[in-house]
Amino acid sequence: MLAVKFYNLRALIHRPLLSPAKLTSAYSGSTTWYQGEYHRISMSKRKCVEAAQQTAKLLHKLEDKKSLVYGFPWWQMISCLICASSILFVASRCINLNSESEVEIFKDIDWLAVDEDAEVCLQVFQALSSNSNAARLARDMMQRLKNSRTIYYGESTDHLSQAWRYCSETLVRYRSHMWEVMSLTWISRIHSDRFIQNPFCSPLENIDLQH
């Protein structure tokens, strides 16, 4: 369990730079500094993706649902896996293809493996969903996020908008009043011109289902 917590926190530490649009737009310093630090920013993105992958990989060798329930606290796993899978599902969109150094940093990332790791998270949500409303909702939200990925290939912005709206409505429905740390609001900053505006700063993870 220490491993899950470690990789989850590491992904969260680096996640602000996975979609640095908001930070960079507010930056008023010299261009030279920014260019000089871009390598560090790209490395941070990579560490975020790797940490998310490591989180998912911990679940690759699960024998069955019992080993998941008794070996891990599923109530923490759901939030960790939402964090991991949301990163993995959108990671490819976060790469700046106009930056040679960033493309170089990510050149040995196996995106097929990234997709497979995200799928593992979905499978765990599915396994837990028979008795966990949180897992059921997590599964539905991540499934929609997965389906929305066509935006990256320029096909449509509608899918992502719909996915985001679904997540927002889920939040409202369950009266979730949370801040940003575990949220999916960061996703709305990726290619922000293509995204609908997030109506509130509430995250989407660990929804309280008793209301």
Binding site: L2, L9, I13, L17, Y27, G71, M178, M182, E205, N206
Partner: protein, 265 residues
């Protein structure tokens, strides 16, 4: 578990043990909950009235509501157990409230500070219990803050308590398996980890976090280094990044079950 209701009824007769009963019945609820989740096969909505763990928990809450006039360490422990059940059943918001109550009671009875003098015997044992209960609240507060994205209730400078001690402990040592060593190592590691969680929150996610990318970048580097340092400082049996060829992975997975509150005899 089947005779839980009659057990509850009998236990309730011992009014002096009300807090113990509260904790015990809550632990029954947790056990039933684990069993239900692990054994279930069908998908679809579950009728809450058919759930044994719900009934146990309702008993525990009823006991708690009738007998909470005294603020004691045991009361804080019982509320912690209640918080774990609420977490396990995804009643996260209610857990936040219950844990908040536990933290406030803990502070009101002074668990967040301890005297400097060395004590012996029962006083030492009692102090050790207080430490564990306090840090259980602290760790859960930080984990919940991370999970919910809300500010931790307990700041780093808001308490002065020594970490749980190995020396005065007998019940955290698993005598059946000497290789397992001191189970408290995991707990101490979690305390350190929880401190980092607080810094991650305040530096990167708090409402007043810096919007300057240079500051953010610097904070990320510092926090990442701190996290890696934490991992490096773990005892070998807790190092999840090293190979443990001859050891069962089960011992690592079962770390989660070694929480001081639930493993106390």
């Amino acid at each position: 578990m089947g005779d839980g209701n009659s057990i509850c009824g009998n236990l309730l007769a011992y009014i002096d043990y009300k807090t113990l009963i509260h904790s015990t019945v809550t632990i029954f609820a947790l056990g039933s909950c684990y069993e239900r989740i692990a054994e279930s096969k069908s998908e679809g909505p579950v009728n809450p009235n058919s759930l044994q763990d719900v009934r146990y928990f309702e008993h525990a809450v009823a006991i708690s509501q009738r007998h909470t006039s005294k603020h004691t360490v045991e009361h804080v422990s019982a509320l912690l157990a209640q918080s774990f059940y609420l977490l396990a059943t995804c009643q996260t918001d209610q857990c936040w409230i219950t844990l908040g109550l536990a933290a406030r009671i803990a502070q009101s009875i002074g668990l967040h500070v301890e005297e400097g003098s060395t004590s012996r015997g029962d006083a030492t044992s009692s102090r050790e219990t207080n430490r564990r209960v306090w840090y259980s609240v602290f760790v859960l507060d930080r984990l919940l803050a991370l999970q919910l994205g809300r500010p931790p209730l307990i700041g780093d400078d808001d308490f002065n308590v020594e970490p749980p001690s190995r020396q005065s402990d007998v019940d955290l040592v698993d005598s059946s398996d000497p290789k397992q060593g001191w189970v408290g190592d995991y707990f101490v590691a979690m305390i350190k980890f929880s401190e980092i969680i607080g810094r991650v929150y305040y530096n990167l996610y708090a409402p007043k976090k810096s919007g300057d990318i240079a500051v953010t970048l610097s904070n990320i580097d510092l926090l990442d280094s701190e996290l890696l340092q934490w991992r490096s400082s773990l005892s070998r049996k807790l190092r999840f990044d090293l190979s443990h060829v001859f050891e069962s992975s089960r011992s690592f997975q079962s770390q989660v079950c070694r929480h001081p509150i639930t493993s106390r005899s």
